[in-house]
């Protein structure tokens, strides 16, 4: 049996609900985007339903602690092809077993969710470290990113708490949406502008002192290095090359 859903978390949770309604035996969950119709396999199309999804999520929260709820959410944000199905199976497994089932690291989906969530958390942490804001002429601190995983939702609290007295935008150039903090709240935004414009902020849009501070930072980075200790291997281990494009000090 193949369950087809719309790719949203709401849809995924609804799929779990429907599965328990129907108990069709072993089912594979696929999103509309990746599903190729197969004449020999019966399929069922899941209609996303807010209420059903909420019930599943609340039920899950009864059985899992907060750390595990977060793991499940992080795994979903990875957007990895296999993860929809794994998460679907994982949630069913949790509902079908007594408390504590999530500690069973021998279970394939438990392991998959754990490992995927760890990867997502690591990228979230890297974004907190490697994001470099540029101050624009209208006083907003801006940074464009293109993370492997959809980590934007995980960044809200950290940046909101820390940068409470400045307006900022963090924009996912790959997924074309971002966060805007207006000194009061953080909102999700979609900018109409051409993506190429967002990738490289043009000089005349920047605050007049932006280049000075970027230069100062680059100089600082050079001065704080100790040549006699050079160890490039260790360096790239900590800052993988694919993140260098974010770093002002590496430009």
């Amino acid at each position: 049996m193949i369950y087809i859903f719309d790719g949203t978390l709401e849809g995924l949770l609804t799929a779990v609900f429907e599965w328990f309604e129907r108990k069709p035996g072993v089912a594979t969950l696929k999103s509309k985007g990746t599903h190729q119709p197969d004449a020999f396999m019966p399929s069922f199309e899941v209609q996303s339903d807010r209420e059903k999804a909420d019930r599943v999520w609340r039920g899950l929260a009864q059985k899992l602690d907060r750390a595990w709820m977060r793991r499940a959410y992080c795994a979903y944000l990875s957007e990895l092809p296999q993860i929809h199905h794994d998460l679907f199976q994982f949630i069913i497994y949790i509902f079908q077993n007594p408390h504590g089932a999530a500690q069973n690291y021998g279970h394939p989906q438990v392991l998959s969710i754990t490992q995927t969530a760890r990867k997502v958390e690591r990228e979230k942490h890297r974004m907190e470290a490697f994001i470099r804001f540029q101050k624009t002429a209208d006083g907003i601190f801006y940074c464009g990113i293109d993370p492997d995983f959809n980590v934007i939702p995980l960044l809200v609290n950290h940046f909101k708490n820390r940068y409470a007295d400045q307006q900022w935008i963090i924009y996912d150039l790959k997924r074309h949406y971002g966060l805007f903090y207006d000194l009061q709240t953080v909102e999700e935004i979609e900018m109409g502008t051409d993506i190429s414009l967002l990738k490289k902020t043009s000089q005349n849009l920047l605050d007049e002192k932006e280049n000075l501070y970027a230069d100062l930072w680059k100089n600082y980075f050079k001065s704080t290095n100790i040549v006699a200790r050079k160890n490039t291997k260790l360096h790239t281990q900590h800052v993988p090359k694919r993140y260098w494009k974010y770093l002002t000090e590496k430009l």
């Binding site: 708490n161 400045q166 000075l212 001065s223 704080t224 006699a228 050079k230 291997k233 260790l234």
Partner: protein, 418 residues
């Protein structure tokens, strides 16, 4: 104007970089007044230098002018170098603007001593206060206190900073006297002790009265330079152990000496900094702090130096073969921690997992222990029967043969600690 600022930053960052601490952890300062910044319990490294060290803080000196002449220091009076000094406003401007762009977690401020200890300390305090009180800055601040500064200034600074440090510099008094005749360990012991007592006192008061402010919430640290003078590893670690104990230090840092002059009392220019030794000292430090080892077990009159070819935990085990093999399924947590190839995480998992049944080799591997190393020291449910007892030098040979290739390729890498 901006040219000069860049120049100053180059000089004063360059002079500050020999302080290896860049930790931004241990502070949970909140951004309560809707200002800028907050503490992050485990700290964040925002970038890494090309030598692989974490860059978390803007580490600068207020000035590199100094009335002292410590032979191991680039800022010493007799050194013919360019001097510079930031104004208080410049320090504040740099910190705020770097922080706003998410370049840094905070500021590490220290200074050469100009005019007098108090004069310098007072200036540092002004920068810190301006950040906290006028700019509403709640990011991390590490302040290196000036030896000889008055208790009043130190106490006041403690109300605004997250961490304080003051460096021992040389591991022994004799070493210090050799290179910095004007200084003494006593100059360090006094403020460390004073701040420690203040921390305790503020904590006590805070229990009674909630509004008592935080005092140096991320604690104190110190640094020793290694390899400038001929101390043994034992000297170094005994000093470290006694300072951890007497002053409840959060960290002791070991900084391999990087030759900066041709002073005949120290290694000459061009000598490689002792990075491997530095690494072994850090491993020993971890074993003391997290693995329940007493420093005397790791270093003593028979073994005054750490082995270079193997890590200190393995050398300890090889010297104490009579304690092994240890039974994974019955031994105490404390003993399991002492097995080479098993770290804290794996030791905890073993204790958890064995509640569900006896552990087998394949499970131990899955849990993530370094089995090829540990196998010489353990028994578990299906340990193969062994005909002969290997001697410690043979075991060392096996382990080295296996790790050799990896080891040679990256001699300076931070080796994993097991």
């Amino acid at each position: 104007m901006s040219e000069r600022l860049i120049q100053k930053l180059n000089i004063l960052a360059d002079a500050a970089k020999y302080d290896v601490s860049c930790s931004s952890s241990g502070s949970d300062r909140k951004n309560t007044n809707k200002g800028l910044g907050n503490g992050h319990q485990s700290g964040i490294c925002h970038t890494y230098t090309e030598d692989g060290r974490c860059v978390s803080l803007l580490k600068i000196l207020l000035t590199n002018h100094c009335i002292f002449d410590c032979a191991y220091c680039v800022s010493r009076r007799s050194n013919d170098i360019e001097r510079a000094a930031f104004t208080v406003d410049e320090v504040v401007e740099l910190t705020m603007n770097f922080y706003r762009r998410n370049y840094i977690e905070g500021l590490f401020l220290s200074s050469g001593i100009f005019k007098s200890a108090d004069f310098t300390m007072e200036r540092l305090l002004r920068a810190v206060k301006k950040l906290r009180l006028e700019e509403n800055y709640n990011g991390y601040i590490h302040l290196k206190t000036i030896p000889g500064a008055s208790d009043e200034l130190i106490t006041e600074a403690g109300l605004y900073v997250d961490r304080m440090s003051i460096n021992l510099e040389m591991p022994t008094e004799a070493g210090l006297k050799l290179l910095a005749p004007e200084k003494s360990h006593q100059d360090v012991i006094k403020p460390l002790g004073f701040v420690k007592n203040q921390i305790v006192q503020f904590k006590e008061e805070k229990k009674l009265i909630k509004s008592v402010p935080k005092f140096v919430p991320a604690g104190q640290s110190t640094q020793m330079v290694v390899g400038a003078t001929p101390e043994t590893d034992k000297d170094i670690m005994y000093t470290a152990a006694s300072f951890y104990k007497s002053f409840s230090l959060k960290r002791v840092y070991y900084s391999g000496y990087i030759p900066i002059s041709n002073d005949s009392r120290m290694p000459i220019l061009g000598t490689q900094p002792p990075l491997l030794r530095e690494n072994r000292l850090y491993q020993t430090d971890w074993l003391m702090r997290f693995y329940g080892f007493d420093v005397k077990e790791l270093l003593n009159d028979n073994n005054p130096h750490l082995d270079t070819d193997i890590d200190p935990k393995l050398s300890w085990a090889l010297r104490n073969m009579h304690l092994f093999p240890i039974d994974i399924n019955t031994a105490d947590y404390q003993l399991i921690l002492r097995i080479p190839g098993i770290g804290i995480g794996s030791a905890q998992k073993i204790i958890q997992a064995r509640k569900f049944g006896k552990l087998y080799v394949h499970q131990l591997k899955k849990i993530g222990i370094a089995y090829n190393r540990a196998k010489h020291f353990i028994t578990c449910a299906d340990t193969p029967f062994q005909l002969k007892d290997f001697q410690s030098h043979q075991i060392k040979g096996f382990i080295l043969a296996e790790s050799q290739s990896k080891y040679l390729k990256t001699p300076h890498e931070q080796l994993l600690l097991f």
